[in-house]
Structure formats: C-alpha cells, structure tokens
C-alpha cells in the first residue's frame, strides 16, 4: 500500500475550499443585514439577522417581486421537480418497454424518431417552442412548465438499456404462467426496476428543480414563479437601488440550493449510480 502523502490531502483540501467556500459564504452572509454586507463584504461567520431575513423572504409579499412569496416559489419549484421526475419515469419506462419487448411494424423508425430528440437541446429551439406553447394556450400553466421538457429521450434511452439487460427467461416464465404484456410490465418489470427508478428519480428531480430558461419564458404570471425565476426577478430589482438586498438574494439562493444538495448528499450512492449509468 502507498504511504499517505500530505500533498494529496493539501490538493483535496484546496479543491474542497474552492468548491464549498462560496456556498458556505453565501449561507453565512444570508444571515447578515444588507447594510452589514454592503460595508463589510461577505462573511464566514453567522450573523444575527437570519430569522428576520428568511421570514421576510418566505412569507413577505411584494418584496422583490410583486405579489409572490418565497413559500409559493418553493412550492412551485417542488411541483416542477417532482412533476418532471414522475412524468419522465412514467413516459420513458412505457416507451422503452414497447421498444424492447414488442415486435411490431415501424419499431425501428419509432426508435429513431424518439432518439432524435437527443440531438437538439431545448435551448436551440426555444423561440419556436415558445410560439407553439402560446398557440396551445399553455403559457402560465403547470402543464406548459413540465410537459414540453419531457420531450427528450434521455430516460427512454436509459430504461431501454436496462430492460435489455433483464434476462429473457423472466419473460418466458411469465408467458408460460399466462401473463399478458400489461401484467408482465406491472408485476415483473416495474418491481425489478425499483432501484433504477429511484436513481433516475433523483437525477430528474434535480434537473427539473434547476430549470431556468424554460420557466423564464413560460411564466409571466407571478403565481407560477419557481425559485429560479425568483432569482431573475431579484436581480432585475437591483438595478437602480442604493443598497441592494444582498441578504435576501443570498437567502433565496440558499432556499434554491438546499433541497437538491440535500438530496444528493443523502442519497449519494444512488445518485452516483443514476448519473454514471444513465450517462445523462
């Protein structure tokens, strides 16, 4: 075995400092008053203003945005994250099941039609996507926020790979027992995919929670604002103000990053599995 070298630890500690110090400073600064931050800069120690700031950000209406509270944005972000993750898993498992377990006309064509969506990220086709959404009257709806994001085949690709690795004997046995396609899917395949579903769920929840551009375009009605959208608004208010509400901005940033970071830290093993095996 190799000896422990202090140099290795030094590099790791520097890496951790570079990555984590900004987060810690944002967290600590959010508990200081705005004037305090303005005159003394960011701080590494907690201040005495935390409860006040967070109460204001969470419950106060008409602060940096017109009439939306942090609590409401938190709820919308949660709907976005959960709705996206659940929708993605449901759609992609069903599609992958059809592609792997059935022999039918046009299967290959459909496979390519679905996987071609990996070619174009949403950012490239935002303008026309926006027009389609407004023609369908889906602006300022949860459907409009979540469903269009489901149009990429990442999940389908992942479940397809997974289903292909499931032993053929299972299907043979199920068919001998007289199980039809629906029964086989619900009673055999879904329970078998539980770990995979959990891993994908974590990745997709973070992905949905962290969406920025799409909510920015889809929502003009403040009651649909997510936390990411709130960050955009708080910055817009900054222009022209004497001492910007640094503390509130930091508090909002903390609210926006705590849930996904907690999910990653708590379910670390599953998260790494989902990430490295689904290849994004």
């Amino acid at each position: 075995m190799q000896k422990i070298k202090p140099f290795d630890h030094l590099i790791l500690i520097l890496g951790v400092l570079f990555l984590c110090a900004p987060v810690v400073m944002a967290l600590m600064s959010s508990t200081h008053a705005a004037i305090d931050i303005h005159s003394n800069g960011l701080s590494l120690l907690p201040g005495g203003n935390g409860i006040e700031t967070y109460t204001k950000v969470l419950t106060h209406k008409g602060g940096f945005t017109g009439d939306v509270t942090g609590l409401l944005m938190l709820r919308n972000s949660l709907i976005m994250g959960l709705g996206f993750a659940v929708g993605k898993i449901a759609l992609s498992m069903m599609a992958a099941y059809a592609l792997v377990y059935f022999r039918f006309r046009f299967a290959t064509l459909l496979f390519w039609a679905i996987f071609a969506t990996l070619l174009l990220p949403l950012e490239v086709r935002i303008m026309p996507s926006y027009q389609v959404m407004s023609e369908l009257h889906l602006l300022n709806t949860y459907t409009g926020l979540i469903v269009p994001l489901l149009a990429s085949a990442t999940g389908t690709f992942f479940f397809r790979q997974f289903f292909r690795s499931v032993p053929d004997e299972l299907l043979e046995a199920a068919r001998i027992d007289g199980a039809g396609p629906v029964k086989f899917f619900i009673d055999v395949l879904v329970p078998l995919s539980k770990t995979m579903m959990a891993a994908i769920f974590i990745i997709m929840f973070i992905y949905g929670w962290n969406q920025y551009l799409w909510p920015l375009l889809m929502t003009t009605d403040e009651s649909f604002y997510t936390l990411m959208r709130g960050i955009k608004s708080i910055l817009q208010v900054w222009v022209g103000s004497q001492i910007p509400d640094y503390n509130e901005a930091f508090a909002l940033a903390v609210l926006a990053m705590v849930p996904p970071v907690a999910v990653v830290v708590i379910f670390q093993r599953m998260f790494i599995k989902g990430l490295t095996e689904s290849d994004k």
């Binding site: 990555l19 059935f102 299967a107 490239v124 935002i126």
Partner: protein, 323 residues
C-alpha cells in the same frame, strides 16, 4: 477495388433483407429473443411519449427550419420568403462571428480547466484513505446547485462593492470590472462555469478510476515506481473512454447549460459583454424580435449539436457493449 462486384451483391442482399425486416418490425439484432407479438399494445405504451415528442419537439423544430427562410415583420404583418438570406446575414455579420469565436474560446478554456481539475481531484481522492468519503461528499455536493444560483453567488464574489475577488484583484493592483470590461466578464464567466462543472467530471473520473481492477493496480505498482509514469502509462489510457465521453458532455455543457450563468452576469445588457451563440439566439429572438435571424442561428446550432451527439452516441454504444 477488385472485389467490388461481390461486395455490391452482398450489400444488395442485406439491404433487401434489412428493408423486409424493417417493414415487419424485426431488426437484424432484436432487443430480446422472445418478444410479444401484438399489433396494438406497443402503440398504447408508446403513445404518451410519441405525443409529447411530436407536439413539443418535431413541431417546433420544423417551425424553426421554416421560419429561418422567412423575414418576419416585427409588427406582425405577415412574413416574406427570403431564402438563405437569414443564414448569409448571420454568417457575414461580424457580431455573429465574434460571438462564435468567443463561444469556441469559452468551450476550450472551460472544458480544459474543468476536466483537468476534476481529474486531479479524482486521482487524489482515489489515493487517500483517511477522509476519502468526506472529501467525496463535499466535492460532489456542488453538482446539485443550479447554474443560475451559481451565477448569483459568483456575481456576488465579483461584485463592485463587496466582492472578495474584486478586492483580491485590487490587492495585485488590478481594477476588476465585471459587467463592463469584456475580458473581466469573460473571466468571471469562465470561473463560475468551471466551478459548476468540476463535480460532474470528478464523479465520472472517480468511478472510472475505481473500476480499474485491483490486479492491474498492483501490477502497475510493481512495474512503474514513479507516480507520474504510472499515471501516464496506465491510469490515463484506462480512463481514456471516460475522458472522451466527458469531453463531449463538457462541450455541450459549455455551449448550452451555461445560459443561466450568462443571463445572471450579463443581465440582458450585452453592450460590451461576451456571450455564447445560444444566448444570442435568445437575445435576437426575444429581445430583438428578429425571428427569422434567430431561427437561422438555431438551425446552424442544430448542426453543431447533431455532430456532437453523433460522436457521443457512437461512443455510448461502445461503452455499453464493452463495459
């Protein structure tokens, strides 16, 4: 070239068999030995995904391509067919080319830095025993932070009044003006984009390193005494597939996922600030109301992404087959 006729016959046969197989739904290499043989059920399972893909992917994509050939009236009084004009306009504009050049530069710098720092940390985290788990958790946790939040925190660090990095630059006698000076803003964008991407690369490099069999590691330890030699001759070649995969992902990330960071730092004030091609598509389309021009830029980007994805796809299949 002498055996061309034979090859052609073979190719013809495979083509016919392939077409027949394609029509009946069989593939040359079916996913499963046993499959259900029902005409309707698979369609029901596919229906939700297909509906979403057609409405929210194909419809807008086709619209992007069509409107790239038209000049839309900004006041909504119809549009005129202009052929390739939107494309030639974009490709001849010095502004577009400048943005393209910055995007390329941004991609090279961010990808190089994020990959090398990620690799360095992964190699070290793979080596240490004491505290390995804590290092891992701390280094990974930043992955979950959204790009706009990263942008916001980064902006505070570069802030005129209270940013510690501004003070640091001032200490060395440099006046850092993010949001005003082109290269200062570029520096801020690079630092934030790299910061955000290191954990992702770290996770993949570390899992790549840890999948190297113990026997190989021990053999390497005996054969190559110097740590550097071991790294260059054994570790790096074994990591090459992971590194290549990450290279494509990092380029895609820098081109598209940095949008929120740019939006937060540049804040709709592109005056003298750097931006990427994707951000320009957004600005021209939504702020400039130049729908045709924005669409043409979209289509050009589609070409770039398609190329990247084909690379990635070829590689994914390989990775899946050989583990």
């Amino acid at each position: 070239m002498t055996d061309t006729p034979l090859n052609m016959v073979e190719a013809d046969q495979t083509l016919v068999t392939r077409l027949r197989a394609w029509w009946s739904g069989e593939t040359a290499n079916p996913a499963k030995r046993v499959q259900f043989d029902r005409p309707l059920t698979p369609w029901l399972f596919l229906l939700p995904q297909l509906a979403v893909v057609v409405i929210f992917f194909y419809w807008p994509s086709v619209q992007a391509v069509t409107s790239s050939f038209y000049l839309e009236d900004p006041f909504g009084f119809g549009s005129t067919f202009v052929g390739m004009e939107n494309y030639t306009d974009a490709l001849n504009s010095s502004e577009y080319l400048g943005t393209a050049a910055f995007t390329a530069f941004f991609c090279v710098v961010v990808t190089t830095l994020a990959l090398s720092i990620g690799l360095l940390l992964a190699v070290k985290a793979d080596k240490v025993i004491r505290g390995a788990e804590s290092y891992k958790t701390l280094l990974i946790s930043v992955y979950a932070i959204a790009p706009p939040v990263a942008g916001l925190i980064g902006m505070m660090f570069f802030d005129m009044h209270m940013g510690p990095l501004k003070d640091l630059a001032a200490f060395f006698g440099y006046d850092l003006k993010v949001g005003i000076n082109y290269w200062d803003t570029a520096t801020a964008l690079i630092v934030i984009a790299v910061w955000k991407q290191i954990p992702y690369n770290f996770i993949f490099f570390l899992s790549g390193l840890q999948s190297v069999p113990v026997s190989v590691r021990e053999a390497a330890l005996i054969d190559a005494q110097s740590g550097w030699r071991r790294f260059w001759d054994i570790t790096l070649p074994l990591l090459a597939p992971t590194a290549f995969f990450l290279l494509v992902i990092n380029i895609t990330y820098t081109m598209f996922d940095t949008f929120p960071i740019i939006d937060v730092i540049v804040k709709d004030k592109p005056a003298n600030n750097p931006m990427t091609l994707v951000y320009k598509v957004y600005l021209d389309g939504f702020k400039g109301n130049d729908i045709g021009g924005s669409s043409a830029q979209s289509v050009i980007l589609m070409g770039v992404v398609a190329l990247l994805t084909v690379l990635q796809f070829r590689f994914l299949e390989r990775r899946v087959h050989y583990g």
